[in-house]
């Protein structure tokens, strides 16, 4: 018996489904299908796209990697914390060492989406997720936008209130922002992304140079783990997110920072904003402004202003510049306050 459906548009078309039992098998299947297969782990991003028929080429096959054993473990190794690709956001947010040593990551994972989605969504899926631009995500590819190989970016002249304040990327356009909460935390903590082929610095992982991608991953490459270096005792990190509602919503602006201090003086800082640009944006001017100074209202204010010094807001999103400025400031202050890492 075919399940009844309320709305015809919600029907997913059929596809071939594989359960992969090893990373090698998943990679082999991906290589076989090229661009016509998608990897599914939590599925919370992919199934939404398939239901809305957002993908221009509907995937021929889905490769389930949840069946690969041991890929959800969070392990402490020498000098680093290894988080398996399939570790759920709940696992990351509640893990003792992540909370104590990489506070920004635990806070970011704990603020992503809603509790249900955190039980399903994985850390690797969170960094590999697609953009949420409403023109891109409009059901049935209603807008043939740049990211789909179409002629123009509809957001540049359209409703761009949640789009990039730091300019576009693809072919001089596409101002859709990267929506991940954990990405800025991973960049601030200088994590490594381990794939089936290589190790990539979190900072270099995100890319919108090619159509339909948000990462530098190749067609037959999957993320297998994320390694976060153990933060030393004088480094404090924090994450702050602004969204319309506290739960469920994607960020309008979020920020993660890791600040190392010698006594009161900042010796090193890594600050990363996200949801403001086409990729997570590490704000070096703000970092430079802070190094060698103490954390106080004046210095963090200047760092916040430095972070958005090169902003070029669109017609409807100038408010995001002010938000970004304030959130950079608050995140740095939070690093000064927190007791734990």
């Amino acid at each position: 018996m075919e399940p009844k459906k309320h709305k015809e548009t919600d029907d997913m078309k059929n596809f071939i489904h594989y359960n992969a039992y090893s990373i090698e098998e998943a990679v082999m299947l991906l290589a076989r299908y090229g661009k016509n297969a998608c990897v599914i782990s939590g599925g919370t991003d992919l199934l939404g796209k398939m239901k809305d028929r957002v993908l221009p080429t509907y995937p021929e096959a889905l490769i389930n990697i949840k069946t690969i054993p041991g890929l959800n473990a969070i392990e402490e190794k020498t000098g680093k914390l290894s988080i398996g690709a399939l570790a759920t956001l709940t696992q990351v947010a509640e893990h003792e060492t992540v909370r104590s040593n990489c506070a920004a990551l635990a806070q970011a994972a704990g603020r992503t989406a809603s509790p249900h989605l955190r039980n399903m969504g994985t850390i690797a899926g969170n960094i590999c997720q697609d953009i949420r631009c409403w023109y891109y995500r409009a059901p049935k590819n209603r807008f043939s936008c740049l990211r789909k190989g179409g002629g123009r970016c509809y957001a540049i002249k359209g409703d761009n209130r949640f789009h990039s304040i730091f300019g576009g990327s693809v072919k001089g356009g596409c101002v859709a922002v990267h929506p991940s909460d954990t990405a800025p935390a991973l960049i601030a903590l200088d994590a490594d992304i381990i794939t089936s082929k290589r190790t990539i610095k979190a900072e270099e992982f995100f890319n919108v140079g090619v159509l339909h991608t948000t990462t530098v991953l190749e067609d037959n490459e999957i993320v297998t783990a994320i390694e976060v270096p153990t933060q030393n005792s004088v480094t404090k990190s924090a994450f702050i997110k602004f969204a319309l509602r506290k739960s469920i919503d994607f960020p309008i602006v979020n920020c993660a920072a890791a600040i190392t201090r010698d006594g009161e003086t900042v010796t090193a800082a890594r600050i990363c904003l996200n949801a403001v640009s086409v990729v997570p944006k590490r704000v070096k001017p703000a970092e430079d402004r802070l190094v060698g100074e103490t954390i106080n209202e004046k210095h963090v204010g200047e760092a916040g202003a430095a972070a958005v010094s090169d902003a070029e807001p669109l017609e409807k999103n100038a408010y995001m510049v002010e938000l970004a400025k304030a959130i950079v400031k608050r995140t740095i202050l939070a690093c000064g306050d927190t007791e734990g890492g």
């Binding site: 594989y18 076989r32 199934l47 939404g48």
Partner: protein
Amino acid sequence: MADHEIKPSICPYCKKEFDSIDAMKQHVFKAHRGSDPPSPEGDIRLNINGNDYYLSVEPRWTLYDVIHDRLGLTGSKQFCDRGACGSCTVIMDGKAVLSCMILAIECDGKAIETVEGIAEKNHPLIESYVKHHAMQCGYCTPGFVTTSKALLDRNIHPTENEIKEELSGNLCRCGTYPQHTIAVLETAEKLRTGKADGAEKAQGDG
């Protein structure tokens, strides 16, 4: 794509890869003689509310499609169908998850509890929900009840903030939010003191 062509010589039982079909056949003959035939992709077993269901599913069917439309357990509701509202929440392996965003084919062997299972056990949540009238139209209620049950299974001493946080993925258009916190707090109290009818049973099964 030709150089990436998949080898057809993968053991259907243990997924081990071989250089040739003959080698695979020999392996199957040696290692798997007498074992049950491998189940074809799409045949799954779901344990729902303690009952085993053996089903043949299409890859595109979500867990919600199977539970609601195929098995007729109509307690879980579909509203947004995009994982944003919590109406279709079920408890899978002890965690509250959204059945509209999970493919049924990927749930093979999972233990699932739906609002019907909670009703069968006469869980004290139900009494508290009725007493505090934590519903208006009632469409979102099963989602709230399953989410609360998952929380209480894990933590019998939830604070008000923990309950609010846990229920923050469930939407209610009627605005019954304050009542849920009251109902869940009272249920937790009942479960701790063991006063409620069926509380012992619910705890034992939980």
